[in-house]
């Protein structure tokens, strides 16, 4: 409902530009518009806007819920919207050079962004002073099963495996709280997982797949290496998975 309200007000404001975007909040500005905007704003003004966008994204990223272009435009860019591409490009450079992060558009259709870490993680030393978030372990287990099982698994398989790990879906867990909610809602909203209905099942059944964030944030090769290490086997012994992991690694670079 707020969606439609926002849409209409945005439309009114950008009436001069041809609206070909579903969201209505952002339209690709024409070259002349960009040029005019560049002339309108001083370098200092644009610099400040870039800093604002960087800060907005950094703060939004705390909860690991992907950031939508609509929100960036609506809350930060405002009248600078015609310089969107310029500003985002410069914001990305700031993330890269100052923070060692990378701004990734995980969904180029709906324009959704996440931040990933550009720096190689070292195995020896703890990455931060903070103790590791136990949810990372939970995610690893679920993503690992999905990957090793060829891309999608029934939710019952996930629940059964977790039960073996003393995590009962029906009960509150010390680290994860409401387990089902954490997995099928929080992880899904963060785009680590996709939780979809399997067609033609009675009663309803759901399956898990990798979400878009997982695809760009998680290294399949490293995951396979760790799983192999746990099994005391070579990663190559899972031929199919190894092939997928190495090819994914090459495309990600």
């Amino acid at each position: 409902m707020s969606q439609s309200k926002r849409g209409s007000s945005q439309n009114r404001r950008s009436q001069m530009v041809v609206d070909d975007d579903d969201e209505g909040s952002f339209t690709q500005p024409s070259l002349s518009q960009v040029q005019r905007a560049r002339d309108n704003f001083t370098t200092v003004q644009v610099d400040r806007k870039v800093a604002e966008v960087v800060q907005f994204i950094l703060i939004k990223d705390q909860r690991k819920i992907p950031i939508r272009r609509t929100d960036i435009v609506k809350h930060v860019m405002k009248e600078y919207r015609s310089l969107y591409l310029d500003i985002m490009k410069r914001a990305d450079r700031t993330f890269e050079q100052v923070f060692g992060l990378k701004l990734v558009e995980i969904d180029s259709k709906n324009h959704i962004y996440i931040l990933t870490n550009r720096l190689e993680q070292s195995l020896e030393e703890p990455i931060s002073m903070c103790p590791a978030n136990p949810k990372t372990g939970l995610l690893f287990v679920i993503l690992g099963i999905i990957f090793m099982k060829g891309g999608s698994v029934k939710e019952t398989l996930v629940w059964n495996t977790l039960k073996k790990l003393r995590v009962d879906v029906g009960e509150r867990h010390e680290d994860f709280g409401d387990v089902k909610k954490t997995i099928s809602e929080e992880f899904v909203r963060q785009k680590y997982l996709e939780y979809v209905r399997i067609p033609h099942t009675e009663p309803l059944e759901f399956e898990f797949r990798w979400g878009q964030r997982a695809e760009s944030e998680v290294s399949k090769l490293k995951m396979l290496q760790f799983i192999a290490e746990l099994h005391d086997q070579e990663p190559q012994s899972w031929t199919q998975q190894y092939r997928e992991a190495t090819s994914a690694e090459n495309t990600q670079r």
């Binding site: 950094l58 990223d61 705390q62 690991k64 923070f99 992060l101 996440i114 931040l115 990933t116 870490n117 550009r118 993680q121 195995l123 703890p126 990455i127 931060s128 002073m129 903070c130 103790p131 590791a132 978030n133 136990p134 949810k135 990372t136 372990g137 939970l138 995610l139 690893f140 287990v141 690992g144 099963i145 090793m148 099982k149 060829g150 398989l157 059964n160 495996t161 073996k164 790990l165 003393r166 010390e174 680290d175 033609h200 099942t201 009675e202 944030e217 998680v218 290294s219 490293k222 995951m223 760790f226 799983i227 746990l230 099994h231 012994s237 899972w238 031929t239 199919q240 998975q241 190894y242």
Partner: protein, 351 residues
């Protein structure tokens, strides 16, 4: 795109899993097709429309579907051929199916069987090792530091062993190597992190507390008023007893005239009050009233030892009535100049 891919792969796997059955299906449908043709354009034979037989077929289908749904895990076991048996049975049932309603059930069963077939096929890995989630879980448990020898207090029989509290931390530490997660902010002095919740609670409590207390104050105030009233009577009675005792102690020989004692020449109401309070002393046996030689009532305190158990028999009751007129008469008759019982206000001022 992935949808269509899945569909085709499913049908391929289905063929692989069904094997001989897959082949027998078209034959069978050809058979029934011939039979239908034999039935002529009118469509349904009379024998085909036997409700009892149709019901029987449907119930058999439902049983079969139920058993497939309930024994799913069992049927997926690569060691047995139960899926094949189910399909054989369905084939036998289908030979008698004549109408859409039964055929729909057959289709439902086929969907189930296909799904099972796909899953069975996915267990078959042509190349490389198969991935067994149970084995994975076991390895993870070992990595997380499960102590299999120690029994957990409420542990199930099959979930024995003790999990250290940092088990998931341990896994996360290693697993985050796989994640290129952007680090989120954290406070340099971590204690800040835990601070916010308590103040919020405190604010709520403060807000609620006064309103509750305000509600509670009303009844306590009322109670106190009642109490103070009772207490006032009690105190007054005690005070008067004190006066009586001190007068008696000053001169035990001369009797204290009752009217001289209770009457306050300056206040009729004080006099009434004094009579009222003194009556308690009499009732409780702390003072006694007797007539002197002039037949005038006198009052004297009763000493502890003096109280006789049998004294109760000698008790009398009387009602004293007094009006402002009699009050004045008494003052004149006894020539009372001042109150023997000082008014409590004066007393409290002195105190």
């Amino acid at each position: 795109m992935s949808e269509s891919k899945r569909k085709t792969s499913r049908s391929i796997q289905e063929e692989a899993a069904n094997g001989a059955v897959g082949r027998s299906r078209p034959e069978r449908s050809a058979d029934t097709g011939e039979e239908d043709e034999g039935a002529g354009p009118s469509g349904i034979h009379e024998e085909d429309d036997d409700p009892a037989q149709r019901r029987e077929i449907r119930s058999q289908y439902r049983d079969l579907i139920n058993s497939v749904q309930q024994n799913r895990e069992d049927m997926l076991n690569p060691a047995n051929n139960k899926l094949f048996d189910v399909l054989e049975e369905a084939n036998k049932l289908f030979a008698n199916v004549r109408q859409a309603r039964e055929a729909a059930l057959d289709a439902q069963l086929l969907v189930l069987a296909t799904d099972l077939g796909r899953e069975k096929a996915s267990q078959l890995h042509a190349e490389g090792s198969a991935f067994d989630p149970s084995a994975f879980a076991e390895h993870l448990l070992s990595f997380m530091g499960l102590n299999r020898l120690e029994e957990e207090e409420d542990g199930d029989a099959n979930l024995g062993g003790y999990m250290p509290p940092d088990a998931w931390q341990r896994l996360s530490k290693k697993a985050q190597y796989c994640f290129k997660t952007a680090p989120s902010f954290h406070y340099m002095f971590g204690s800040f992190l835990a601070e916010p919740p308590p103040p919020r609670q405190r604010v709520e409590r403060q807000r609620k507390a006064p309103s509750k207390e305000a509600k509670r104050i009303m009844p306590t105030q009322l109670k106190k008023m009642e109490e103070s009233h009772q207490e006032a009577t009690e105190k007054e009675v005690e005070r008067i007893l004190g006066c009586l005792r001190s007068y008696f102690a000053d001169d035990p020989q001369s009797p204290i005239l009752y009217y001289e004692f209770v009457v306050d020449p300056n206040s009729f109401s004080r006099t009434v009050e004094n009579i009222f309070h003194t009556s308690f002393l009499i009732r409780d046996g702390l003072a006694r009233v007797y007539l002197n030689s002039n037949k005038l009532p006198c009052i004297a305190p009763v000493e502890e030892g003096e109280l006789e158990p049998g004294g109760a028999n000698a008790r009398h009751q009387c009602v004293i009535s007094i009006s402002p007129a009699t009050w004045k008469e008494i003052i004149e008759a006894f020539d009372i100049k001042e109150a023997l019982i000082p008014s409590p206000k004066v007393l409290s001022q002195e105190g």
